[in-house]
């Protein structure tokens, strides 16, 4: 770890690629690990596939037996499935934020992390989409909320937030996938050109869409990228806003709050960056990408986590304030019950992980320590899962009529489904790091000093 960041000789800002790598060095650094099989990768992949198998077994049993295999009961009709859904959608926020919003804001440091973050987004949204599908009582009719003309003359209910959710998440998924794919094209072409086996040649050849790197290609590519970034940016905000409507539009104390949209978006970014750190800290070390994903990158992400974590903490406080300020005693009870009721432990896990642990990022040494970053990112992931648990379950288990109140506890199958969803996520991520460039080579090269038209004019040519 460098004690001081290298400075760009031209701009005087911190360099984004350290140790003065050349373009070729970057290509080698990124592409080589994809081309040479790696024992560590196999280890991770096999474990992930086993976890994926657990998911498939859990889902098989679920489809056979019904959602009764989970711990749901009468007041708590939404349990871990919805918690997991919101958790994964939240994680799926960072990628598009990094690639679209930071792109529009000309944050060049995004280039070395956006590919992995976007892949994470796609895979997280796949995991997220799984849950609302399988949590329904009759998943074989899951297409009914789609406005498909049918012989029954039935339209879905456009007043239902769940329907909005269907549109919001599927749109987000489509645009994110496109955005990711468009960004991949130049790199896929690089991989095609480097490919040695026929399969690779054909596969990369098909997906690189005949990219030859002509100026015309680059012009079209950059326009398309800009347009998609423009399209994706509002989606970053809208998708979690609409997910929060699932709760906010209902009338349950603890769900029915106007703060939910911004609070959910902040939380999503928070958890998304948490997960990016969880993935990139080991990845950069194992794939020897420290020069590309520098400490400075990690530090930037830590700062975003600190900001969004504090925002989330503010939202937690504000919920209590509004509950008190509203003068509605039942609203006040809902929040008192959160912090001091049957699920107090979940609430305080959430507070310690989400509000307290990111505050450590005020310290530069912590922000620049990959190990500590990794540990805290795990806390952030745990905390954000618990946030959704607290919101979903504690509001439901004590609602309006005390006669119906009950306690919810998960079952074995709840846990296997959650673990299995991580299996799905990591399997996809393992395949990604095995077959696709984990860092956007073309984009990184564009922010290297060498890409500057004035590079070398002062004679600093190497």
């Amino acid at each position: 770890m460098a004690a001081f960041d290298e400075l760009d000789p031209l701009s005087g800002r911190k360099v984004l690629v350290e140790n003065n790598l050349t373009f070729h060095d970057v290509t080698e650094a990124v592409a080589a690990p994809i081309e040479i099989p790696n024992a560590r990768w196999w280890g991770f992949f096999i474990v992930s596939v086993m976890m994926l198998g657990l998911l498939l077994v859990s889902l098989g049993w679920l489809f056979w037996e019904g959602v009764g295999i989970w711990g749901l009961n009468n007041p708590v009709d939404w349990g871990w499935a919805i918690v997991n859904f919101v958790f994964w959608v939240g994680i799926g926020h960072a990628g598009t934020l990094i690639s679209a919003v930071l792109f529009l804001f000309r944050q060049k440091w995004r280039t070395s992390i956006n590919r992995a973050a976007e892949a994470m987004t796609i895979f997280a949204v796949i995991c997220a989409l799984l849950f609302p599908t399988v949590h329904t009582g009759r998943p074989w009719f899951i297409y009914w909320p789609l406005p498909i003309p049918n012989q029954m003359g039935m339209w879905p209910n456009f007043r239902s937030p769940l329907l909005w959710d269907v549109f919001a998440v599927s749109t987000y998924f489509t645009v994110s996938l496109l955005f990711w794919y468009v960004g991949l094209i130049p790199d896929l072409a690089t991989m095609r050109d480097r490919a040695k086996t026929t399969t690779r040649k054909i596969a990369y050849g098909i997906f690189s869409l005949g990219w030859r790197g002509s100026t015309r290609h680059w012009q079209h590519y950059e326009k398309a990228y800009l347009i998609l970034a423009g399209l994706a940016t509002p989606l970053v905000l809208s998708v979690h806003t609409i997910v929060s409507f699932d709760f906010a539009v209902s009338q349950l104390p603890g769900w029915h709050t106007t703060i939910f949209p911004p609070y959910f978006v902040a939380g999503a970014i928070f958890s998304g960056f948490g997960m990016v750190l969880t993935l990139l800290v080991p990845l950069r070390s194992w794939f020897k990408l420290e020069n590309l994903v520098t400490i400075k990158h990690l530090e930037n992400m830590a700062k975003i986590i600190l900001v969004t974590g504090t925002m989330v903490g503010y939202a937690y406080g504000m919920e209590f304030f509004i509950a008190w300020y509203s003068g509605n005693p039942y609203e006040q009870f809902a929040f008192a019950n959160r912090a001091f009721g049957d699920y107090w432990w979940a609430y305080w896990i959430m507070i310690s992980c989400n509000v307290i642990s990111p505050q450590l990022f005020w310290f530069k040494a912590i922000r620049r320590s990959p190990l500590l970053l990794f540990i805290i990112s795990i806390f952030v992931n745990i905390g954000m899962w618990f946030e959704r648990f607290v919101i979903t379950v504690t509001s439901l288990h004590h609602d309006f009529l005390p006669s119906s109140w009950d306690y919810y506890s998960p079952t074995f199958w709840d846990m296997t489904t959650l673990i299995g969803s991580f299996g799905l996520f990591f399997t996809l991520f393992c395949l990604f790091v095995r077959f696709l460039p984990t860092i956007a080579m073309a984009e990184v090269k564009s922010v290297m000093p060498q890409a500057d038209p004035h590079f070398g004019e002062d004679g600093h040519h190497e």
């Binding site: 019904g66 009764g68 609302p132 009582g137 039935m154 879905p156 007043r159 239902s160 119906s404 009950d406």
Partner: protein
């Protein structure tokens, strides 16, 4: 006995398939085309499912060998090509019949769909049911379709195990036993009967005593009014009977008398009590109820004042009251008795009660045409009943709230204790048990099981139960909906009970069996019943009259017994009182109380899933019994819910029962419900609860003092459907005005507008989110129907008896989910009765009952959140549920503030059939007008939409565009003993429901959410005695 459903399945397939199976079991090739006795063959088929399938395959294959080609067995379904007269497919038929549990007889109307009885309703013409029923009557339909029923006669085989036999062998063997006994004049023969309310059965009981003059008749029926009858017979003469009546009773004192729950005539008493219980405006007259009881019963929950008191002290309380009435109010008692009356040491609370109650009882008398009532429960010994009868008479309640009659046909019976004694002395060698189960019901101290093992037992019963397993012969009895019979209610209304269906199995009726035992001849029940009434009426009997009786369900024109009981043996009562007061109860030792179970009665509903799953009316426990103890006692024992309690009765035995802490239970007492812990009875009953009768004493089995109670190690998880008993869970939760109450004052109510005062939001402050939106699918539902349905539930009338919950189960095909799923919080009842405790005194809180069902909100929160519009509003204001459209997101259930939506987490209907072994019979009991729901869909109360639409179609056919008020009666409304539920058109101000909605007591629950519920409640008014307040 192995599970006999395999043979059942065969029975329901075609006859061809059946005969090939049977022959497959014996001689595969030779088909006996015309089996001489097909029923007898059925009985021999006792194969396990696997071997059954194997045999089926083998016989089919062999059939193929003989015929040269393989064909599927021909199975035909038969439409009514020639329709039976007056039968329209799909249209239910109703038949008047009767129903009995112990001394309580109800006239009922049974609904039959295509020949299958599916639902019981009250017969409004019958004086004892007055159009209502209890939960037990509702559940009897499921008992009919119980697959664990005994289906064929069984006898003890070589190895001592019961083996299937047939009636021919049974007839022969039992005739042999009887002819031997007849020769000896019946010496050594015991006939054990339940409480007999059937005139025909009584005739044959008399015949039996004539044929076997030396035989002894014993009564074994925990639901029978044995103590009450003993008191009357002690005071007057054998055959003296009394009934309580609460019409016009201004002050009611219930002494350990759960007259709304399990006391004799509880349906009628609850209805009579409710008549003057529901003032619609301030100042309207209202009765007052005092309850003195050790255990918190629903009667106590509905009382204006309740005194938790040890059962042993209840009699003393009455003695103290009598003393107060004699000394301070000039009430005259017979000399013998007055001599035994004196002040009693009862404790501070009771001491306050005695003068106040005495004054109130006397005040009631001074009002013209008014009177009071002192009710004593069956659990109290005979002397307490006797004293209550004397006191009722002395304060002028006789002919008003206490009516006496004489039963000329009564046969003297002895108790089970006498049976035990006779058996142990060897005086009895042959025991004929007719629809009784002494091995289970007799108090554990009597060791009846062991004693019966020494005798020759012939058992006729509905199940192969504890006694059947000791019997030489077990004879299966028919269900009361399968056989002719008759019933006389306690106050003398008589009904001829019509069968609704042929006996489904090889069973016979109790009437037929007793007539056979008595006379040696076997006759069909119809001939016996018809013959009885023909003889009874003599010349005035006619076929036309008989048909009238059948049609109405009421037997008319039978002369009543001219004699009335005359009280003369006051000395006997006086000495009984003296004896009763002899041993002072020791307050520092535990008292153990035994109660009939509000769900399983004496255990007769143990294998009935509806009754197992319906929550206990006070504790809301399902599928289990518990040891109820007060919070203070729990603290003292350091016991919490589900901890095992060791209960030991000296010289009898000990059992371990899980604790349930019950506010309102008298301190240092334990209450146990009998009827549980039945082993090998059936799949439903297996593993439910603990058999507490093992520690009952022989003499006065209902309560025992000087018991040892301690916490022991271990737990047994028992499940309640309502975890939170109070409206105040702490954490600053302000009680929501869910239940609204006030009290009466001199000529009015403490808060005349209490119902409206509970509204958290003013009506004008509530705004619809949708009112600006004219678009039909986005705005408020357009309530353009001519009639607008609504319901009003009167919290003053509702006593929480569960009849509506059971009726809803039956009407709407609600599945049973089982013990484990109730533990998971997934019971499916569309209607539940919420019970809340109130008041600061945990030792003696007040309790309220609130039936909760879909409120059919006009702006229903469930509707707008469903992504597929599976739940939507009808123009007539119903919140409709389209099961076929539902994909099961459960969002509606989350957004329902009343939590009345139920989700099929599993395929509960399939589980009922397969896992609970109710296949295929349970399907016969399903209501074809209501969809049977699949897994993964939400369901909820529909206001019995099938009944609404049925009535609308009828109205349409007769050319009207509206349904008249009172034509549509929902299932819950129909059975309600207290008429607490009214359903109808709220748009028409002349309907009952509209009038009730306009009263001062009307309010809606959670209206501050602007749900605009169509179900509203009439707030509760309590009528406390200012002197006790």
């Amino acid at each position: 006995m192995s599970k006999p459903t395999e043979s059942l399945k065969a029975y329901w397939r075609s006859l061809e398939a059946h005969s090939s199976m049977v022959s497959g079991a014996e001689a595969p090739v030779s088909h006996d085309e015309f089996p001489a006795a097909p029923t007898a063959e059925l009985t021999q088929l006792r194969v396990k499912r696997r071997s059954f399938v194997g045999l089926l395959g083998a016989s089919t294959a062999l059939a193929g060998l003989t015929t040269g080609c393989l064909r599927k067995p021909v199975e035909r379904i038969m439409p009514f090509a020639k329709r039976p007269e007056d039968l329209i497919p799909g249209k239910p038929e109703f038949y008047a019949t009767g129903f009995q549990v112990g001394g309580s007889v109800l006239g009922v109307v049974a609904e039959s769909q295509d020949g299958r009885p599916i639902k019981i309703e009250g017969n409004p013409k019958h004086a004892a049911s007055q159009g209502a029923t209890d939960g037990w009557a509702q559940a009897t339909v499921l008992t009919l379709y119980d697959t664990d029923r005994s289906q064929v006669p069984q006898t003890r085989g070589e190895g001592g195990e019961l083996q299937a036999s047939d009636w021919a062998s049974a007839d022969e063997a039992i005739n042999g036993i009887l002819s031997g006994a007849r020769g000896a004049g019946g010496k050594g023969v015991a006939l054990v009967v339940p409480w007999v309310a059937s005139p025909t059965l009584r005739e044959h009981l008399k015949n039996f005593t004539k044929s076997f003059p030396q035989a002894r008749v014993f009564l074994c029926d925990p639901t029978a009014p044995a103590n009450a009858t003993a008191a009357l017979e002690m005071l007057a003469e054998q055959g003296a009977r009394a009934t309580y009546h609460l019409d016009g009773a201004e002050v009611v004192l219930a002494l350990d008398a759960d007259f709304m729950g399990d006391m004799q005539d509880h349906v009628r008493l609850a209805r009579e009590f409710a008549r003057t219980r529901s003032p619609l405006s301030p100042g309207e007259a209202m009765n007052r109820l005092y309850a003195v009881e050790p255990h918190f019963t629903i009667t106590g929950a509905n009382a204006d004042h309740r005194l938790p008191l040890r059962a042993a002290k209840v009699g003393r309380f009455l003695v103290a009251l009598a003393h107060e009435l004699v000394t301070n109010h000039g009430v005259k008692l017979p000399e013998d008795i007055a001599g035994e009356i004196g002040p009693q040491e009862l404790g501070e609370d009771a001491a306050k009660w005695v003068p106040a109650v005495a004054k109130d009882l006397i005040n009631a008398r001074t009002n013209r045409g008014k009177h009071s009532a002192i009710l004593v429960g069956e659990r109290q010994p005979a002397w307490v009943h006797g004293l209550a009868i004397i006191l009722n008479t002395a304060i002028g309640n006789q002919t008003n709230s206490l009516r006496l009659r004489h039963d000329d046909m009564a046969v003297a019976t002895e108790g089970v204790a006498a049976l035990a004694e006779a058996l142990s002395k060897g005086e009895i060698t042959t025991v004929l048990c007719l629809d009784t189960n002494p091995a289970y019901h007799a108090a554990g101290a009597l060791k009846m099981g062991e004693l019966l093992g020494r005798a020759t037992v012939v058992h006729a019963g509905f199940h192969v139960d504890e006694t059947a397993r000791l019997a030489t012969w077990h004879l299966p009895l028919s269900h009361h909906l399968e056989e002719w019979g008759d019933l006389e209610s306690s106050e003398g209304s008589m009904t001829v009970c019509q069968p609704l269906i042929e006996p489904m199995f090889d069973t016979r009726s109790a009437i037929r069996l007793l007539a056979w035992w008595a006379t040696g001849n076997q006759m069909p029940s119809y001939d016996l019943v018809y013959g009885h009434w023909q003889a009874e009426l003599g010349a005035s009997f006619s076929k036309r009259r008989w048909e009238r009786w059948l049609h109405d369900g009421i037997v008319t024109g039978v002369p009543r017994s001219p004699s009335t009981p005359v009280f003369q043996h006051f000395d006997a009562l006086a000495s009984a009182i003296k004896n009763g007061l002899k041993d002072a109860p020791q307050d520092e030792l535990f008292e153990v109380n035994f109660h009939l179970d509000p769900k399983l009665a004496d255990g007769r509903y143990a294998n009935n899933g509806w009754m197992q799953e319906v929550p206990h009316p006070m504790s809301k426990l399902c599928w289990d019994n518990a040891a109820y103890i007060s919070p203070a006692t729990a603290k003292e024992l350091k016991a919490e819910n589900c901890d095992l309690l060791n209960i030991q009765i000296p010289e009898v035995g000990e059992i371990q029962v899980p604790v349930w802490v019950m506010p309102g239970q008298a301190d240092k007492t334990v209450s146990l419900n009998i009827g549980y812990g039945r082993e090998k009875l059936g799949q439903i009953a297996e593993g439910c609860g603990v058999d507490v009768s093992k520690i009952q004493r022989g003499e006065n089995p209902w309560f025992a003092g000087n018991a040892g109670v301690s916490k022991t190690s271990g737990q047994r998880m028992i499940y309640s459907t309502q975890d939170h008993g109070t409206l105040d869970p702490g954490l600053g939760y302000p009680e929501r005005p869910i239940v609204r109450e006030t009290t009466t004052t001199e000529g009015g109510w403490a808060e005349p507008d209490f119902a409206k005062q509970g509204d958290l939001m003013k009506a004008e402050d509530l705004r619809s989110l949708w009112e600006h939106n004219e678009e039909a699918t986005l705005g408020e539902p357009k309530l353009i129907g001519k009639q607008q349905w609504g319901m009003v539930i009167d919290l003053n009338r509702c006593n929480g008896c569960n009849a509506c919950v059971a009726a809803c189960n039956a009407e709407n095909n609600i599945p049973i989910v089982g013990r484990k799923e109730v533990g998971n919080g997934r019971e499916m009842h569309w209607m539940r009765i919420d019970r809340y405790f109130s008041g600061w005194d945990v030792a003696n809180p007040e309790a309220v009952m609130q039936p909760m069902l879909c409120q059919h909100c006009e702006t229903a929160p469930c509707e707008n959140v469903c992504p597929v519009a599976a739940t939507a509003h009808s123009p007539e204001g119903l919140n409709d549920m389209a099961y076929n459209r539902c994909i099961g997101t459960r969002y509606c259930a989350n957004n329902c503030p009343y939590k009345v939506r139920r989700f099929n987490f599993h395929n509960y209907n399939l589980r009922m059939e397969e896992d609970m072994g109710l296949d295929p019979l349970v399907r016969m009991g399903r209501n074809p007008d209501v969809t049977v729901r699949f897994r993964g869909v939400i369901e909820k109360c529909s206001y019995c939409v099938q009944r609404i639409n049925g009535a609308k179609i009828e109205a349409h056919i007769s050319g009207r565009d509206t349904v008249e008020d009172g034509v549509i009666v929902t299932a819950c409304e129909q059975v309600c003993p207290t008429e607490a539920i009214a359903f109808g058109d709220i748009a028409d101000p002349s309907t009952r429901v509209a009038k009730l909605r306009a009263t001062k007591r009307n309010y809606g629950v959670l209206t501050d959410l602007y749900t605009r519920p169509r179900t509203t409640y009439l707030g509760r008014v309590r009528n406390p005695n200012p002197e006790l307040a």
